[in-house]
């Protein structure tokens, strides 16, 4: 049984409870009063419109629309501008709830595969935890080449002027490809993160069992 089927089975007909127990800050969802200030304050919803803006996702959670919420590309449109947080009259930590739902959908393998920000988000975390510090060059190349070599070269060409500008300004170092900045105690960092994942996983499992 996949992880997704197991939780779906456990929380059958109670998607709200699933979100409350398994998603970071998920216990705030029921506090939403559907005013829509978050949607009106969101830069990417304002410019190009989310499929389901935050307050709609909250109502869908209450209505038990599990599949629609977790497979939605909406949450991945968050730019982490925190405008919704500071404006929400009920003080819901909306930015964190959006990240939380996205992370949960990603963890269950339900998030849209080709969503570019989902890809970049995972790439960023792997990049920065690998050596303890971000390698900006590898991060950019990793993104450009995500759809294969040919597309990667095309993307690279499109970014040529930007890259040359940064190179000239000494804000891009080609030698980052062969190493770059890193922490000394990488072993300690890996061990501590491994432990953190273990603890987090066991806490979530305990909630499911309890």
């Amino acid at each position: 049984m996949s992880a997704n089927t197991a939780v779906a089975e456990k929380y059958r007909n109670n998607f709200l409870k699933e979100i409350e127990e398994q998603v970071e800050m998920g216990d705030w969802v029921k506090m939403c009063m559907q005013c829509g200030v978050c949607s009106g304050s969101c830069p990417t919803n304002f410019q190009s419109a989310w499929e389901h803006p935050p307050q709609e996702l909250f109502m869908m959670i209450l209505a038990g629309k599990r599949e629609e919420v977790l497979t939605s590309s909406s949450m991945w449109n968050c730019t982490s501008c925190y405008n919704c947080i500071v404006r929400c009259p009920r003080k819901l930590p909306i930015t964190h709830i959006m990240h939380g739902i996205a992370e949960y959908a990603h963890r269950l393998g339900m998030a849209p595969k080709m969503q570019p920000t989902r890809f970049f988000s995972g790439l960023f975390w792997k990049n920065c935890t690998h050596t303890g510090r971000v390698n900006e060059l590898k991060l950019s190349l990793g993104l450009y080449f995500k759809d294969g070599f040919v597309q990667g070269v095309k993307n690279g060409m499109a970014m040529q002027a930007v890259a040359i500008g940064l190179l000239k300004a000494r804000r891009l170092n080609p030698f980052e490809l062969f190493g770059g900045h890193k922490c000394k105690d990488q072993t300690g960092i890996q061990a501590m993160l491994k432990k953190a994942y273990e603890i987090e996983r066991s806490r979530k499992t305990a909630k499911m069992a309890g």
Binding site: Y82, N83, C128
Partner: protein, 303 residues
Amino acid sequence: MAKHEYAFYPGCSSQKGASASNYLTSVESMCKTLDVKLTEIPDWNCCGASIGYAEAGELPRHVLNARNFALSEQHLPGQEIVATCAACWLGARETRERLTHSDTLMSDTREALKEAGLTINEMPNIRHMVEVLIEDLGFDEMKKHVVRPLEGVKIAGYVGCQTNRPFGVDGESFENPQYLDKMVEMVGAESIPEYEQKVTCCGGALAFSEPEKAQAQIKDIVESAYDHGAEMIVTPCPLCQANVEIYQGHVNKKYGTKFDIPVMYYSQLMVVAYGGSAKDAGLNGQVIKARRLEEIAAKPVKR
């Protein structure tokens, strides 16, 4: 002994050859003038930034930030942590807040940190460099060192998101913070308090993953600066600086605009006003050259 001492968290983008290396150059020079001593936290690590959320989870993210707290406590006991990057500051402050409010998260964090041979006993204060300037030094002290006022230069103060929300600088509003405009006035330049895009999001990490969405925002931010007669934009955030500066060419191509406006850090303006050279201010790190500032930086100093 320096007047003010802090544990310094420079962040990934400030490192040599990285996207905000010129920010660090100018901060070092600015701090020398102001007698502020920054000691780098030994072996500090990335904050994880907000964009790491897909894989970060809750505890690993806080453990990552807590490692820096532990290192700071161990090597620089009693010193407050100062970050120059908005994302580093936000990430660290958020971790501080969460760990302070939850005993479970705190004890889980301690357990994970043990694996790296580290521990936290006291929660450090996390400050942004602009907080240090405004709260610990104050505008009068900052102004005292101005020997080359940036007279006649009109500058749009672009605060952006993460230096402003959700924490922000004490006493400032989220919708219309004033401190950056005051800093512009402090260096003798002309501010634009009515610049209505001052807290608009630059698109953050979406500038990489979904550039068309970020560039729509960047267009608004730059266009409004021009509409208000600005010659340059100033910001306290490394990602705001990079996004608003380096994609102007792409915006021009897409929207038929002719944007070519320099985007500076507050610290660069201060270094030039304090009599520093173009090099001290990291002006050679601009992709869109700040010619006006270079001219001023070449002028003799009024003492």
